[in-house]
Structure formats: structure tokens, C-alpha cells
Subunit: 294 residues, 2 copies
Amino acid sequence: MGSVAFDTVETPEGRADEVLGGSATYFGFAASLFGPVGLVGVVGDDFPDAVLEMLRARGIDTRGVQRLPGRTFRWAGRYVEDMNRRETTGLELNVFAQFDPALPEAYRGGGYCFLANGTPSIQHRVIDQLRSPKLVFADTMNHWIAEAPDEVRSVLGRVDGVIINDEEAMMLSGRHNLVAAARAVAALGPRIVVLKKGAHGCLLAIGDAIYPLPAFPLEEVHDPTGAGDSFAGAFMGTVAKADDASVATLRRAALYGTLVASFSCEAFGVERLRGLTLREVEARGKLFAEMLRL
Amino acid sequence: MGSVAFDTVETPEGRADEVLGGSATYFGFAASLFGPVGLVGVVGDDFPDAVLEMLRARGIDTRGVQRLPGRTFRWAGRYVEDMNRRETTGLELNVFAQFDPALPEAYRGGGYCFLANGTPSIQHRVIDQLRSPKLVFADTMNHWIAEAPDEVRSVLGRVDGVIINDEEAMMLSGRHNLVAAARAVAALGPRIVVLKKGAHGCLLAIGDAIYPLPAFPLEEVHDPTGAGDSFAGAFMGTVAKADDASVATLRRAALYGTLVASFSCEAFGVERLRGLTLREVEARGKLFAEMLRL
């Protein structure tokens, strides 16, 4: 569950206007590398059927995508110099403001669920519709942590894991040390905490154990938009494919998240993810393992 | 070659007044884990003989430490919240302003040399005194890159490698992408480029090959002062001990640099490094390898 959007993005490498974006979209492309994935979101009456068709051709189930009268969610942003920081230059929630997710019956029972951005109340409504889910992970945003901290915490109390940015973890925990922040977030409920650090990689915390991973080094980053959601899609896809949540699987999930996120940055929008194959991801994984061999 | 100083440091974890510090000091403690190391620096007449004796007891040769009339270099700084950033609150160069390094004869021939902070002209004077060195590495600082960019570049043209902060590499290269920045720095001369990223680890660039390493995750950082110089000391110590500059040795050097830097952060000043043993470093290395195993 997340947003489906049209993004306008400016980076030092170029610009893209009204390209397909949104957290659920990036997540879906990434997760589809590993197996079936169902997308829950909302689009307006301006959203082309051909794009939904393209998603389905990729193996992304779109039965959970509602169409409402009005315009699709629009986001515009700019990355300056250091690609780790961005500013939002335009935001139109449009139909996303009326979004009330109704999960198709086929999605409700015993699966793997990821709650991408959205109000905490929408995240709650998705959880309410799940029956004995195997694993529920959530993301959240600085906006909600600032505006609705108690609601964010109540969501965290209902999930198995979070995949959030380092700054969000600092905001949630009041701790600047990331290991301490991860443990403080875990104390709010989720037993698995993944902190994303952009170009600096990620930190996976499971119980007392901490596993750091650098990012795959890229010489050219064209557009970091959606890298975090791509990470989450590959992470959840890996876990769902293995159908277990062992430490070994979660570590492999963080690795695949890292790899797929790196591909996502190589072109604007979902351009690089659209045609990406698991074979390419695994080839990069071999390179990465060689780089990291101690 | 570098500074020997008294530091006054404030971090969110506490405060230390006029404790032993300086780049050469941290470097020396770290390098001494791996074999003999000779320190080239300057102290004032206020510097206790007992401290020089303590350095020698650690296996650090102090024949290269000059004593000049006047006060020893003083530095004061404060780390705020995010331990990756610090502000200098006091700086007295004192005798360091008159420092004209004269290498003991025993240091001049065919060894491994690290040029820590200091003016580019002082770094040049050290290089001038070396005869067929096996490997020369340098550090530099944002101050010199801003004030004397041509002199910094002329030093870089004479060294085999650099160990610098990510921000210094960005300043030197004008590139924000760290892989691109490392390559641009390499194009200035040094064929081995190590970019230190504080709590985010490091990036080792040798020719076209890039090796990222995360930092060893610490839940409590008491004082990051000297972590970069400790990294450099362990890096050069590892290379000198192996007496080769193969890719495998340089990668192991970056690993030992990472590990020793993490110990350095665990207490104020050189407190943790003073009693550190190679056995402790290797035990942490085993944990780290397990954390990173892909």
C-alpha cells in the first residue's frame, strides 16, 4: 500500500516531467522481481489505462488500485548537489486525499504486507483488513512523526518491522547514534528495524544484532527518487519469496534491497526498474560480494 | 609527521580538558599496534617528559619530536548531536607555527611515510627529506584546500595515496558523488584514495576498483576526535607490516583502519588506544566479518 503518482524531478543530472512515480509503484516494480505483488493505491481519472496495463505486464496485480474522480497525486522535487538531500517544490495530494484503502479479498489472508507512506490512520485501516498476516512492515515520514507522533507510534506497535530513513529514526527516538536509534525504535514495537542511509547504505537491526551494509557504489546517480521504496520492495520480495523471516533471509533481503535501490538510481523515474531482471541484480550482487569480502 | 597537541573536547557524552591529542599522536598509537613507528612533530617546553616516555613505552620512536621554547599546540572543539560534525572553539598553534620538520637520519631511507595535517609546505619539506620511500600517503584539511589549493595539489602530485574526509574530497574535486570525487582526486596524482566518512565508514579507490566499507557499528561514541588519524595509523601500520601495497593488503589496511578507529571513539582522547592490543582488534574484526558476510 502506498502512493501512485506523477513526479516532476530535477537533479544535477537532468530533469523529468510528470513521470510515473509513487512509493507503491517503485515498491511494486522492485518486488515483482521476486514474485507476485499486489498494489494497493489510488489513481485519478487522468491515469492512463496503458500504465496499469504495463504494471500488470510486469506481474504487478492492480486489483487493489482504486480509480477516483479527480487528478492523480502529483509530487515535484529537486535534489541539490549532495543527492542525499532533496526539497519538495510541489505537492498535490489530489485523489490521494480521499484514499480509503479497501483490500481485495485475495490480499487479506496470511501474506506479507508493506505499508508505504500515507497517514498513520490509512496504515491502521490496512492492518485492520489483514487476517493472520505473516509479516507486516511499515515506512513513515518526517511529516507524520512531527504532526502525529502518537498515531505513528500506535502503528509501530502493530507491525513486525520498519524500513525508514536514518533521519526518521532519529526523530522518532531522539537519538543521534544510529545503533541507539534503531534499538529505541525497536522498543516501540517492531522487532526488525531497517535504517536507510541513502548513499551511505543501511543498518539492519534484529534484536541485539546489528548488520551494517554500505550502498553499492555508483559513479553516476541520475535520480534517487524511489530508491528507498525500491529497497523496501526488494526487501519484502526477498522475504516473501523465501517465505521465512530468519536472520539469514532478512540479511539477504537487505542485500537485495541495496542492489535494487542502486539500479533505481541509475535513471529517472522507474525507467531502470521497468526492464530490470533478477539476473542483472544477481550479477551486481556478485560484484558487491567481491567488493565487501573481508 | 603531524601534530602533537593538548585537546579540550566536549561531546554529548562528556568533556575532557587538555588531554593528549594531535594527529601524530593518534596515528602513532594506532600504528604501534602493527610494528615500529617514528613520530615527527613538535612540542613546547610545557610538554611533560613523562608523556614522551609513555609514547616510547608503547613502541613509538620519539627521536623525530622536536622541543621548542613556548607552548604546545592547543585545540578545543565541540561535537554537537550528530557526532559527524564538530566545531573548533579554540586553536593555539603555539610552537606548531614554527615547526620545521627535520627527519632523523634513521627515518629517511626507504620506508612508509604518512603526512598528517600541517601546511602543504611542511608536507613538501618532509617528502624532500625522504630517500626512495616505499609509499607516501598524505592527509589534508578543508582549511588548506580553501587557502592554498595549488600547494595542496602539488603535494598530491608527489604522494602514492591520500586518506582524507569525504568533504575534503568533494572540495578538492568539486564533485558530490563520492566515487566520482575519489576518481577526480586520483587524477591529481595519488593512485590510492581512501575517503573517510565518519560514522558511515569509508571508500577505498585503487585504479578503477572501488571498495566500500561501513563503519563498525558503535552504540556509544564518546569522542570521535582522532578517529581519522587512528584509521590512518592502522592503515599505514598494516601496509608497513605486510611490506607490500597489493590490493589485498590495502583492503586489509582499510579494514584495520576501520576497526582501530572504532576503538578510538570509545573513550576521550587516546585513553582507549593506549592499552589497546592487536588481539582485541582482531576479535572485533571477527565480529565485523560476521556482520558483513554476504
